[in-house]
Amino acid sequence: MTAPGIGAGATALGTPAVAGTGSGRVAGERLVMAGGLAALAAFLLIFVAFALYALLSKSFQDRTGAFIGLDNFIAYFSNPALFQSIGNSLFISIVSTIITTTIAFLFAYGLSRTCMPAKGLFRAIASIPILAPSLLPAISLVYLFGNQGLIKDWLFGASIYGPIGIVTGMVFFALPHAIMILYTAMSLADSRLYEAAQVLGASRVRTFFTVTLPGIRYGLVSTVLVVFTLVITDFGVPKVIGGRYNVLATDVYKQVVGQQNFEMGAVVGMILLTPALLAFVVDRWAQRRQSASLSARAVPLVPKPNRVTDGIYLAICGLISLFLLGILGVSAYASFVKFWPYDLGLTLANYDFSVVDADGWKSFFNSLRMATLTAIIGSTVVFAGAYLVEKGRGAPWLRSGVHLLAMVPLAVPGLVLGISYIFFFNAPWNPLNFLVGTMAILVLSTIVHFYTVSHLTAVTALKQIDPEFESVSASLKVPFYRTFWRVTVPVCLPTILDIALYLFVNAMTTVSAVVFLFSSDTRPAAVAVLAMDDAGSVAAAAAMAMLIVYTSATVRFLHTLVSQSLTRRTQAWRRR
């Protein structure tokens, strides 16, 4: 044990020591903690703040790197074609947001406020689109409504290439996110309010507008913002089915890849950043206001059976599920068709990717490796980081700084992140430019891209653990990392696995950031889907997209099994 004299000495030197305890070790612990926080802060600073700064400065430079002020922006806004993309993007995003939110509202309402059967099945189906890259719905829509589509007559002569196709694809792609948020919001209702409304004789419509809607208003705001941001920054759907309808996200691709115009790409990137940033700020504001909306005395609302309502919602949810499964099924089917539309015989040939793509199956294994590394490294870093932020002692400014930095990636579209990484890491002065073209940069960019949601998930779980654990450990003179390893990690294991799954699935499906960062050795499967569709090998693209779905689904199934057995073994204390 440390002699009291050293403790006193430390106090004299200005170290805030806990009187009478092993202050030497406490100081050491603080050092480890501060070191961890500093490392995390450095990581986020470099991979978020500095990289974005590189993008910002690039948008004010010409090809040679000289500062030219706003000239790039002026050139962009004076080009009517490019300028029109802003209007198109806004139009697509608004329409998609309205449709997605409406459908998700009905679906979530059915799940949370009715007694319709098969809720578990519906919930499972609603999460399917998360397993697929956003290119998949677009490819399916071509097979369904393209000029040789199965049911193209349903469009009454309108073309799927353009706004109709983009919006439909976006709805598929954004729906699970919207349903998830709205379902959570609707599950938290106070039945006393409904009883009061009933007693006061309010009509159902009036109850809806005075009780239901206000109760979920923040969830609704969140949904609208999340969907809007997803749609305006997604580039998979418009790339495949946009036809001649240009949006901001495809403009970036055309500027950077087609015209090698990195400066203009940076300008479009900055423009794309604006709505996302705005949405982010509003969302933060809304979430802060929501925190105390449900009091401790609330009585959870339990829906009562009603044959008519339940029937209606069963039909609605059934239709929506049919839409989701239909889109998925078409790609699954088309991936086995010999030569659409002239030879509808079935074959496995489309899964022999080496015929149409130099990398063949290698892209798939690249993705598998990348997703696994992202899941393992990402969940470790995120959870340890969240622990230091939430349970750490001392260095309050460092902790809140890290927390703030961890929020930023949510507002940065993948596309923008990818471009800023090109600028930042390719710069010859950057000591990190050995990362260029490696698997490491793909993994790091993906972790950063999905950092915020993982971080918030971890923080939420950690908040549920009584801080007494830390106090008790401290008074028992157990170093924090042992408490972390022996108490916090086992208790939070289900959450850590959730984060790992989230990172894995997103790493399998993401295109936006990695499309600018991969090298020959590391090209991921979702980029191969894009490339094969681009080259017109649509069946092979559908096949690769389905492989991604099958892989994500398998991993999710395994995750469920592992979580269940873990919960049984380690979470018994949660049950009463």
Binding site: N79, F339, N426, P428, N433
Partner: protein, 349 residues
């Protein structure tokens, strides 16, 4: 309970650690020297080319980086400060001119360069790039769909202005596709700028979509998605060989074309191996290989018929194709093109 969970954590971490060990990149230490080669060659060409070169030089191994012309060019420019490629084998000459302008290419005169057609090398001495093969704009015409819709077979570029093709014709976007650009540059050079733009104004009325890739219009034509696609003659021929109901047309009076070429990247740390590849790429044996895919290759007097290839391809290549003009005016042409045609949404029916 805690013991149990601790074991679970430990077990899980053991699994994770071993998984990570298995997943971390471990390149087998091969004896051969690795040469990173950037290319826009078609997929099916990569294996035979690599095999032939490695047979001739067993001590060198080719590591392909393949993508479309636009993407490979963008990558090379992006990596300007720190080039990753050793050699470029199979990239459009118009792209190589851009790279050369930025001083990214090493001049080298490969052995036997005198046997190649004079057009098929850069004007510098020693040449900074040497041609491989030529490809040109062509129209892929789906005979089944054309008959269904009553679309006549076009013979010239002018024929494509016929309103009957409205909504049935696709072409590559010149801003992202090398084929799109060579086609547009071909029209502008052959017709003169004013007339060329007037032609495209009218053609634009018929175009259903501008694709990102140059081979996609032909693949879409093959699948009947759109009956006619302005694309690459090579893609048309190979799809037809695979059984697609296509006719490949080289429209009169002639097509814009481009060369695929070889170049050594300045600053490569394997100059000796890079030169061996450049020598091989210009050799007679390599040209015979190119000639199994393309009708027009760099080697003088080498012409072998390829199944389903449109006849007299070389004669239909626009004479006096001015690559320097195209490279110099590329930004201007693309800006004008984008302004005129890219802003339109789906054509109204």
């Amino acid at each position: 309970m805690l013991v149990c969970s601790r074991r679970a954590v430990q077990g899980l971490s053991a699994i994770l650690v071993s998984a990570m060990a298995a997943l971390l990149p471990g390149r087998p230490a091969g004896a051969a020297e690795m040469l990173t080669v950037y290319t826009a060659f078609e997929n099916e060409q990569l294996a035979p080319y690599k095999k032939a070169f490695e047979a001739a030089h067993p001590d060198i191994e080719i590591q392909w980086v393949r993508d479309s012309t636009g993407i490979i060019t963008a990558r090379l420019l992006a990596e300007k400060a720190k080039p990753q490629a050793d050699v470029i084998w199979g990239l459009a000459a118009s792209s190589l001119l851009l790279l050369d302008r930025d001083g990214l290419l090493e001049g080298y005169s490969p052995a036997g360069v005198e046997n190649l057609k004079p057009k098929f090398r850069s004007s510098k001495n020693p040449p900074t790039w040497v041609g491989v093969d030529a490809w040109m704009g062509a129209v892929c015409y789906n005979t089944i769909e054309a008959e269904k819709k009553g679309l006549p077979k076009p013979a010239s570029w002018e024929d494509l202005l016929n309103p009957v093709y409205k909504g049935h014709l696709v072409m590559p976007n010149p801003a992202s596709s090398g084929t799109g650009f060579l086609t547009v540059s071909g029209w502008l050079q052959q017709m003169g700028e004013a007339q060329g733009w007037a032609f495209m104004d009218k053609l634009n009325e018929n175009i259903a979509a501008y694709t990102h890739s140059g081979s996609k219009p032909c693949k879409q034509a093959a699948a009947g998605e759109y009956p006619l696609g302005i694309s690459i003659e090579y893609t048309g021929a190979s799809l037809k060989t695979k059984g697609a109901p296509l006719d490949v047309i080289l429209p009169k009076p002639g097509s814009g074309w481009d060369m695929e070429a070889t170049a050594i990247v300045k600053g490569t740390d394997q100059p000796a191996a890079a030169k061996k590849l450049a020598d091989f790429a210009a050799s007679k044996g390599a040209n015979e290989l190119y000639n199994t895919f393309y009708a027009v290759v760099a080697y003088q007097g080498m012409t072998k018929d390829i199944p389903n290839y449109p006849a007299n391809a070389e004669a239909m290549m626009m004479p006096n194709n001015d690559f320097a003009w195209a490279a110099l005016n590329r930004d201007r042409i693309l800006a004008e093109w984008t302004k005129r045609y890219d802003s339109k949404s789906e054509p109204k029916k």
